[in-house]
């Protein structure tokens, strides 16, 4: 009797489930035996990643599928090249337009033309050039990560590109260290002269003298230079922090975190390059006399009085009040 009951229950169960199985068919009507099997979508409803169990100590190797990686790849392969091209080429276009409309800002001659005043000492110039030379290599090797396989590889071939990209990667990882040190040096050297003040607001309202013939007053650094300084310090620290998390994988964050770091690093990187292009332009081609400040360290006194009048007054007051007096001398009463 018990066996008969079991058989009847089994028959009833089969009768109830059979139509459901029969309904699972492929779009063309053919039976689809794998339609009800466990699939990726079902697994992702239970956990954000698909992972297994492994016996080696590297726990990260257990990760099989991580969907955020697809979003990161989409950004890396589809969005980033366009954002990077827009930032870099957009800035180059804007600078070219500015050059052809405004022209080069010429040195204004006066009675004090030819006299020199020290603007940056040797260590300041050393710190600037160490950071700058590293930045140029970091920029080019960074742009190679984004555009190399698209622009360079078709020109030089895959083997030459592979070698070049490998050395570019080494340069990127190793020159990051003197770059970070240079940013630290510049922060310590120039922070006292880059505190924003009311004079900067006036400078900005007058367009910094770039748009007209007026030359608004400025201290050692004008508002534009202060913006460059804070951009270099802020972006420099951000690039350093995000870069270190990629140089030392899994030390601070997991694979998701490292992908986020790469997104931040690359976005800041292209904006950083665009900002520094503007800095290079105004420090060389855009303004006559500006390069001397970082070239020889000395600038024309007439140029300094026009562009940094408050700083010149400060320097002349310092010279008049102290160093001119020799040992044993006292000011006349």
């Amino acid at each position: 009797m018990r066996r008969l009951t079991s058989l009847l229950l089994l028959a009833a169960t089969l009768a109830l489930t059979a139509p459901a199985v029969a309904q699972v068919r492929a779009p063309d009507g053919a039976p689809n035996p794998t339609a009800s099997s466990v699939n990726e979508e079902m697994l992702f409803k239970q956990d954000p990643t698909i992972h297994g169990r492994i016996s080696i100590p590297n726990a990260t190797a257990a990760n099989l599928i991580q969907p955020q990686g697809r979003e990161w790849r989409q950004f890396r392969e589809a969005w980033l090249p366009w954002i990077g091209a827009l930032a870099v080429l957009g800035m180059l276009g804007a600078l070219a337009a500015f050059y052809f409309t405004r022209g080069r800002i010429r040195l204004e001659h006066s009675e004090e033309s030819g006299k020199k005043i020290l603007r940056f000492n040797s260590f300041e110039r050393f710190s600037h050039w160490m950071t700058a030379s590293c930045f140029i290599v970091l920029s080019l090797s960074g742009l190679n990560y984004i555009f190399g396989k698209r622009l360079l590889m078709p020109l030089i071939g895959p083997e030459a590109f592979a070698t070049l990209a490998q050395y570019a990667k080494y340069a990127h990882i190793y020159l990051a260290w003197p770059f970070m040190l240079g940013v630290l040096f510049m922060l310590v050297l120039w922070i006292k002269d880059n505190i924003p003040g009311r004079i900067d607001w006036i400078w900005l309202k007058q367009g910094g003298g770039l748009l007209g013939d007026a030359h608004p007053s400025a201290g050692r650094f004008n508002a534009g230079q202060k913006m460059i300084f804070w951009m270099v310090v802020g972006f420099g620290f951000a690039m350093g922090a995000t870069g270190l998390m990629m140089i030392f994988p899994f030390a601070v964050t997991d694979i998701n975190g490292m992908q986020v770091m790469q997104v931040i690093h690359s976005l800041i990187g292209v904006v950083f390059i665009a900002g520094i292009l503007a800095h290079i332009y105004i420090g060389s081609l855009g303004m006559e006399g500006a390069y001397d400040a970082m070239g020889s360290g000395e600038v024309d006194l007439a140029w300094a009085k026009v562009h940094h009048d408050l700083w010149v007054k400060e320097q002349q007051a310092k010279t008049a009040s102290g160093p001119q007096l020799g040992r044993g001398q006292v000011p006349a009463e």
Binding site: S55, I56, P57, N58, S122, R125, F126, S127, H128, W129, M130, A132, S133, C134, Y170, A171, I173, Y174, L175, A176, W177, P178, F179, L181, I247, G295, G297
Partner: protein, 70 residues
């Protein structure tokens, strides 16, 4: 110009020091993840060979083509 040359030289020296220190503190996966209970063998070169030709021997030495599934 002198400040620039010294800066470039200093950058190269610091980069070389960084490369040395990073290499000193880095181990291959087969070294890092080997334990007393699990020995991970040295994979040697990559699976397609140093020249990406499928010949896994060093250039100039006798080798064989890598086979799928081997």
């Amino acid at each position: 110009m002198k400040a620039f040359l010294v800066a470039v030289a200093a950058a190269l020296v610091l980069a070389s020091a960084a490369s040395f220190l990073l290499a000193e503190n880095q181990r291959f996966a087969y070294q890092a993840f080997a334990t007393s209970g699990a020995r991970v063998s040295d994979p040697g070169t990559n699976l397609v060979g140093p020249r990406w030709t499928g010949d896994i021997a060093e250039p100039g030495k006798a080798g064989h083509k890598a086979e799928a599934g081997s």
